[in-house]
Amino acid sequence: MALLRFSSDLDPVSNLLTLQSELERFLRNPAIRLGVSGPGDFPPVNIFDDGDGVVVMAEIPGMDVASLNVSGQSHTLTITGYRKRETVGDAAGYHRRERPFGEFSRSVQLPDELDLDKAAARYEAGMLTIRVPKAESAKPRQIAVNPA
């Protein structure tokens, strides 16, 4: 399902950003249901179609992979973890404290016809990327036409 495509070579980042506004009208995309969590919950997620399935990306900087959990049940993908503040034991004080810390749980309901058993998650540069391929049964098939 291709709703939009990135096209210009000139400014790919800018193109990406315009998606945000263009996509607002797709917020109620029937394929993606958010369940109990929604925008504003941590971590923020973006969901893409890569042709072979769905890619869920979440910005969760500064995590230990060990304290990051991804689980799937039926059509629901759940990301949980605890983001811990760095040790600042003997600090005399702070000037800025803008970064979010604490326990989080976020779930996303994925479209049907995906194979959660074959999902793969990767954590790199503070980004969690989960790829969920389409189920074999949902892939297009070539049907042979036999001569009579």
Binding site: M1, L19, V54, G62, A92, Y94, E98
Partner: protein, 132 residues
């Protein structure tokens, strides 16, 4: 302090100066703590690799730039989006005297950690009080 419920903040776009590099720039969220002999700064820049961060200190202005790779997104078409993807840029004027020869910078899991040691003049010293 009780643990607050964790929420995601919308990224703030950098206002003001125009950049020569194409693409939008966002302000990374930072924590800045002061210690007796140093200032430590952490900046959240998810999506930025170790090799794509630049830190400069010139005339008392600290500049942090992080570039995200857009390659990842080339073959993806969006179904649902909550956050913007873009580069990061933020500047701070440092009031303190910083020993710029010994600044430490570590980038790990999308978090930049800077250690800015205070120069001799800026270190706080405990003054011994003599009994009168």
């Amino acid at each position: 302090m009780a643990e607050q419920e964790i929420t995601a903040k919308e990224k703030q776009q950098v206002a003001g100066q125009e950049k020569t590099r194409a693409g939008r720039f966002f302000l990374p969220g930072v924590d800045i703590y002061e210690f007796d002999d140093s200032i430590k700064l952490w900046a959240d820049m998810p999506g930025v690799k170790e090799s794509d961060v630049e830190v400069r200190l010139k005339e008392g202005v600290l500049t942090i730039t992080g570039t995200v790779s857009t390659e990842t997104y080339e073959k993806l078409s969006p179904l649902y989006t909550e956050y913007n993807v873009g580069n990061y840029f933020r500047q701070f004027e440092l009031n303190e005297d910083i020993d710029d020869q010994h600044i430490g910078a570590v980038m790990k899991n999308g978090v930049l950690e800077l250690t800015l040691p205070k120069g001799e003049r800026a270190r706080s010293r405990r003054i011994e009080i003599q009994a009168g």
